[in-house]
Symmetry: C2
Subunit: 143 residues, 2 copies
DNA sequence: ATCGATGCAAAGGGTTTGCAGGAGC
DNA sequence: GCTCCTGCAAACCCTTTGCATCGAT
């Protein structure tokens, strides 16, 4: 039905990566910001210093970085993926109004898993905890 | 940046809904299944009995039902939204391989919220807890 | 010299929308 | 009969991809 990821059971042929300036820039930007940018936000930001960077390159490298486990994708709002360089277990809060994404500290990720009673036969590879609502800043603006 | 939801602070003009056979069918199907169908899956299913149903109608009604709070949207995998008629707090597990979405009982949703230390100034309207991995069925198939 | 990475632009694919005709009330 | 709703198809928009060229090793 959907064409899901076609990963072989964890032993992909893995062609070797070559070094690339663009990939470095993208990863460094993700490390430096806490705004959880979308591909387009990354593109717009880096393009200032690098006018002929292409959006396709941003997408390709974000996917590579994700496969390498250096970046994670937060499925957010309105069909736009947002990216985060920090891969530790933590949750997010999205504001429905301004789209801002905030990090949340998860006190006990293991407890979170357990509290959801995941079937032991299902293998969990990741968890994504997302809260939505109106952030303090927007609430003030709306008064 | 994104064109977020344009909801007035909770008192939208709200034009009155008229009854519609299509909307009933869609909602009833969502109530009857536990497979968390995408818009397209709803469309394909209902089209068997109703050959000139249109996909646009399915999307429009899913959005209406969501606004009415009768249906919730689970942001899932690969940019496909999936829908669920049950609006109680519960979590989901998506299989990366077959795309199946399973319901999880959340033992204590309030504890879940608290364990993530959401800023008190941010107003939470919903939460979405999603686990991903390989479901038992696919693990067997891959052996 | 090889082969991965890039830029560009076109194609994909899920979702939304404009419009004319049809259905609820 | 006034509006909302529907079907159809085109438009949208984020993301992916084909291709010729560039660049890392």
């Amino acid at each position: 039905m959907d064409k899901m990821m076609e990963k072989m059971p964890d032993k992909a042929p893995e062609k070797k990566l070559r070094h690339s300036r663009q990939r470095d820039m993208i990863y460094e930007y993700l490390l430096s910001t806490r705004e959880h940018p979308s591909a387009d936000m990354v593109y717009e930001h880096l393009r200032e210093a690098n006018p002929n960077l292409s959006l396709g390159t941003v997408y390709r490298n974000l996917k590579l970085l994700e496969d390498m486990g250096k970046v994670r994708r937060i499925t957010s709002l309105n069909h736009v993926e947002r990216y985060d360089a920090c891969c530790a277990d933590h949750a997010h809060f999205v504001c429905e109004e301004c789209g801002r994404v905030k990090d949340l500290v998860v006190l006990d990720a293991q407890a979170g898993r357990e509290s959801c009673r995941v079937d032991e036969a299902d293998e969990i590879r990741w968890m994504n905890v997302l809260f939505g609502g109106i952030c303090a800043e927007c609430a003030v603006k709306n008064n």
